[in-house]
Each structure stands twice: as structure tokens, then as C-alpha cells.
Amino acid sequence: MPAELLDALPSVPGIPKPDPILVADGVTRHFGGLLAVDVDHLEIQRGAITGLIGPNGAGKTTFFNVLTGFDTPNTGSWSFSGRDLAGLSAYQVARLGMVRTFQLTKALMRMAVIDNMKLGATGQTGEGVLGALLPWRWRQQEKEIEARAEVILDRFTLGPMRDDLAGTLSGGQRKLLELARALMVKPALLMLDEPTAGVNPALTESLLVHIKALRDEGMSVVFIEHDMDVIMDISDWIVVMAEGKVIAEGRPADVAANPAVIDAYLGREHGEAATPLEDSIGDRPVGEQDR
């Protein structure tokens, strides 16, 4: 298991990983005078679940945006599976196999669940203007894509909603759909921005089971999360950001005991046990995004 390779590593920010899938170097992003992201060096292990945590405004989502091509950093380089990503658009990054989800779920509301899924498939002949006009060239592929989509939908218990409009799903189901749809791209690395935000505990549990299963199938996962229970439960490795910087990383137990982390989260409540930690983190209000 690639994730177990991490066990031997010391908890030092910027530590090289045995088999990194994603490497960021000197990445900074500022908005006017605010330095939102200032990551010296970070490597993400292949085949592991890496949790990215930090207080609100730590720059996690901005860092995500930069890595996935949704934003351009002011300096720095970053690579995915050894391929330099500088200058690539978001869609090109996705095609390479690094697929993200969003903090505010982006279900395609007025499209059927199955169409949401089919959209995720890459390399579709019928997506070109000329290809679209020659149905015999895409019909077969469309059938294959649909079959694959149905398998994934069933896996995520969304099978019965196949033909419903995505806008009629509950918030939690939309999160599931977004994850399922991301899988249609056949990603090597999933970047999940708060996959459990606003999801009820039962559905959170099933989401986590899905994420772990994906890891066990060899997929790499990076996720931003605020819920400490979730983080501790599923992360193989945790990266902590504060004020744009990576202030700590390590195995869950080590990070939880790290004084720098407790400082960043708790400030004056320093030294208390892990339970108040999670209470103090608190979700930001819905609709707010830290860009």
C-alpha cells in the first residue's frame, strides 16, 4: 500500500514523499496586499488520502484553485505526475487526471443526473461540432459511457435518481453526484473541496466509505475538510495550512499533537484536548468562499 510508505516519514513541513503525485514549489498567490498562498514546498503521496486542514482564510481553497488551474499563482511551479502544470487551463489539468470538486456543490441543476454523469467522460467523439453531426460515430461510445455512468451511480446509491434533474436532489445527494461525476473523468488524483460540508452524518459516513474505497483502488485523494472527526478518520497524511503557509504535516496522530497546529487553531485555548479543537473550527457560512 503506497499510503503505508508514509508511516516512516518524520512530520516535517515540506518533507519529500516516496512517490509523490503532486509537487508544489514556491507557490505564492497574492490578492493586492494579502498573501493568500505561500507554499514553500509540498509533495502529495500517490495512492494515499491527504487531508488539507487549516483555519478559515488559511488559503486552502486558493491553493486548490491554483493547483487545478482555476487560478494562476504569482510565482512558483507545480507538477502532476512529473508534468509541469504551469500555464495549463483548468480543463487541461482535468484531462491529465487531476479532477476537483467544489466547496459549493456544482451540480448541473437543470440537467438529468445521468447527463451530469455522461458529461464527465472525456474524449467523446460527439463533443466536436462535426462529430456531433455524425451520430453513427458517437452512438456506440455514448452507450458505453452510459453503462459506465450507471455502474458508478449504483455504487453511489444514485441509481434510482438516474433520470431526475440534478436540481431536485438533496444537498447531500448533490455532493455524492459531484463525486460520482468526477469519477467519470477517470482521475488519478481527486481534489475534494469540503466534500462533507452540509451533509448529514449518515451520508457523510457513506461518503467517507466511498473515498476510502477509491483510495484502496489506487486513486490518490486530497481533500479540504473542517470536521476533525472526518480528518482523523480517513486521512493517511495531514497537511496543515495557516496564513497561506504549510505549517505542519504528518500522520493524523502526530499532527493532532503538534503545538504549532494547536496554536493556529486554538490560539489562547492552547493545550486543551482534541474535543474543543473541533468545536472551535466551525464551518464558515454557506455561500462564502475564501478566494
Binding site: 487545478t68 482555476f70 487551463s89 483548468a90 480543463y91 487541461q92 482535468a94 484531462r95 479532477v99 476537483r100 470538486t101 467544489f102 456544482k106 451540480a107 448541473l108 441543476m109 437543470r110 440537467m111 447527463d115 455522461k118 458529461l119 464527465g120 472525456t122 467523446q124 467523439t125 460527439g126 463533443e127 466536436g128 461540432v129 462529430g131 456531433a132 453531426l133 451520430p135 458517437w138 455514448e142 434533474l165 436540481g167 431536485t168 461525476r181 468526477a182 467519470m184 473523468v185
Partner: protein
């Protein structure tokens, strides 16, 4: 009061040249607005370059077919130019940029600097004789019952409706394919489409180019049918009426704009005919409405009708109620 005559006028209008022009413009606009969610408020610009493409080419001695091709090509180029700002601008900003672009085109066309080519405010006339020389109908009046047209008008609107049919067919074929699925995804949430590996900018360009090309057919049809182009025929108001037609029929529905256009012109002519007759016959007292005011009042009524439509059937006639209940954001 002659209801039958009002009805005949209304049907003639619903099947006539204006309805053809708005149907074509609407089908093009529907690709951009209905399917892709692009607020192109400069659609009339595509009609302008289409119409002037024909008029100028023929005026300079070229054949009509070449003019048609040049008109369509110019609209494709215009669509791509409209598309450039979408790289950075969204929704309302795109609307402002495109409305300005279309106005710039119109003002350039009527400017004295370009008068040697465009004939400025006078416009260009009599350039479509070769189209009418192809007219298979001998001189005369044709039609069913009292709904009749002269041979040349019939020839023009027949060709026009064939063009409408062909463009509807094109849009149907494109939007039922995975290509159309990507457009709808962009309409719903372009970042989601990007995150799934779709080249959103490229699709927006394609949508604007194809929508613009279909729109240019409306301009070409209008130019050929009336045998004249004039810069001031291409006012921004046209774009807004085309939106009304698309919304009336149901945006994002293949046949929506066609039905919308037919209905729009039917209602517009019918209300005018009825009001005019009612005022002349004295059913409506002169202090309330005089015959001269009818033309303005019918627009007020159409506006009122559109407001009611938005309030009670926001999805348009063809749209799905279920979809309209979902807030897209």
C-alpha cells in the same frame, strides 16, 4: 368590425417575412442564450453583417450566392470576436460588450467614412434581382382562402421557411448530441464543465459562431426579401425583440423560437387589427384611444403579455415546468 379580416392579417403576418426573419434570428439566439447561457445582446450585429455582406458583394459586381457566403462568413467572424471577451467576462458584462459592439457596427455602417462601400444612411437597394429571377411562380396572387401573397413574396418566404427548417434541423442534430450536452453544462455552471475537462472557451466560441451564422441568415433573408439594407434597420431593439421571441417559445427548446416568432407576429398583428377596427368603428371611445395611437398601444400590450408570461409561465410555451422551478445557481 371585421374579425375575419383581422384574423387574416394576423395569419399573414404570422407566416410572413417578419416571422421568418425573427424565427431565424431566434433559432440563432437560442443556441447562444438558450443552450449556452451566453447573454449576447449584440445579435442584431450578425444580421447586419449578413445583410450587408450580400448587398455590398452584389453592389460591387459579385454574384448573389457569393454575397450569401460572405455574409455568413462575416457573421462567424463576428461571433468569434464577440467570444473573445467571454474569456474574462461573464453574463451581464458580456451583454454590455456585445450591445456596444453591435452599435459600433451600425454606426460604422452609416458613417460617411464608409459611405463609398455601405452608401451610408441611404443604404443599398435593388441587389437581389437574381434571386427573384429564380422565382418559379409566375406573376399572380397565391394562397389559401384570403391568406394570399404575390408571387415574389411567396417565393421569398417559402425559401425563408426552408432556411428556418434547415437551421432548426442543424440545431436539433447538434444539441441532441454530446456537443449540446456540453453547451447546457456551460449554461448551468461553466466551472463545473471546466473541472470535467471541457474547453469552455472553445465551446463558447463555437456557440457564438454557429448562433451568429444562423442569425446572419435572418439578415440575409431580410435584405433579399426587401431588396434593401439600411443601417437603421439594425437597431438594438431588434435584439430585444428576438429575445422576446426566444423566451416566448421557451429557451433551450429546438422549436421554441419558431413557435415564439409565429405567435409573436400573430399577436402583434391581431391586436393591432382589432384595436384599429375598434377605434374606427367607435367601440373604443376617441378620448381613450385614437387610431394613430394603436401602433404604440399594441407594443404596450405585447410588453404586458410578456410580463404575464414571465410571471405565470417563466419557461415559455415549450419549456419544461420542472426545469423552471429549479434555481440554476
Amino acid at each position: 368590425m371585421d374579425i375575419v379580416r383581422s384574423l387574416v392579417d394576423a395569419i399573414r403576418s404570422a407566416l410572413g417575412a417578419s416571422a421568418v426573419m425573427f424565427a431565424l434570428a431566434g433559432v440563432g439566439l437560442n443556441v447562444m442564450f438558450g443552450y449556452t447561457g451566453l447573454l449576447n445582446f449584440g445579435h442584431v450585429g450578425s444580421l447586419l453583417v449578413g445583410g450587408y455582406g450580400v448587398a455590398i458583394t452584389v453592389n460591387l459586381g459579385g454574384p448573389l450566392w457569393l454575397g450569401v457566403l460572405i455574409g455568413i462568413a462575416a457573421a462567424v467572424v463576428l461571433g468569434l470576436i464577440y467570444g473573445l471577451p467571454t474569456l474574462r467576462l461573464r453574463e451581464d458584462y458580456l451583454a454590455i460588450v456585445t450591445i456596444a459592439a453591435a452599435e459600433i457596427l451600425r454606426l460604422l455602417t452609416r458613417s460617411s467614412a464608409l459611405e463609398p462601400i455601405t452608401k451610408g444612411v441611404f443604404g443599398i437597394q435593388k441587389f437581389a434581382d437574381s434571386f427573384y429571377s429564380l422565382n418559379p411562380f409566375p406573376r399572380g396572387v397565391y394562397g389559401i382562402w384570403k391568406i394570399t401573397w404575390d408571387a415574389n413574396t411567396l417565393w421569398a418566404i417559402l425559401v425563408g421557411w426552408v432556411l428556418v427548417g434547415l437551421s432548426v434541423l442543424l440545431v436539433w442534430a447538434l444539441t441532441r448530441a454530446p456537443w449540446g450536452r456540453v453547451l447546457k453544462a456551460i449554461r448551468e455552471d461553466e466551472d463545473a464543465a471546466r473541472s470535467l475537462g471541457k474547453n469552455v472557451f472553445g465551446y463558447k466560441l463555437q456557440s457564438l459562431a454557429i448562433g451568429g451564422a444562423i442569425g446572419s441568415l435572418a439578415g440575409i433573408f431580410f435584405a433579399v426579401q426587401t431588396q434593401s439594407v439600411n443601417p437603421d434597420s439594425f437597431q438594438p431593439l431588434f435584439t430585444f425583440l428576438a429575445y422576446a421571441v426566444v423566451i416566448l417559445g421557451g429557451p433551450g427548446r429546438v422549436l421554441g423560437p419558431v413557435v415564439g416568432s409565429v405567435l409573436f407576429w400573430f399577436l402583434l398583428s391581431f391586436t393591432e387589427a382589432i384595436l384599429r377596427q375598434a377605434t374606427l368603428a367607435g367601440f373604443i371611445p376617441a378620448w381613450l384611444l385614437t387610431a394613430q395611437e394603436v401602433a404604440a398601444v399594441r407594443w404596450i400590450l405585447v410588453g404586458l403579455g410578456l410580463m404575464l408570461l414571465m410571471a405565470f409561465r417563466p419557461q415559455g410555451l415549450f419549456g419544461s415546468r420542472e426545469e423552471s422551478l429549479i434555481d440554476a445557481r
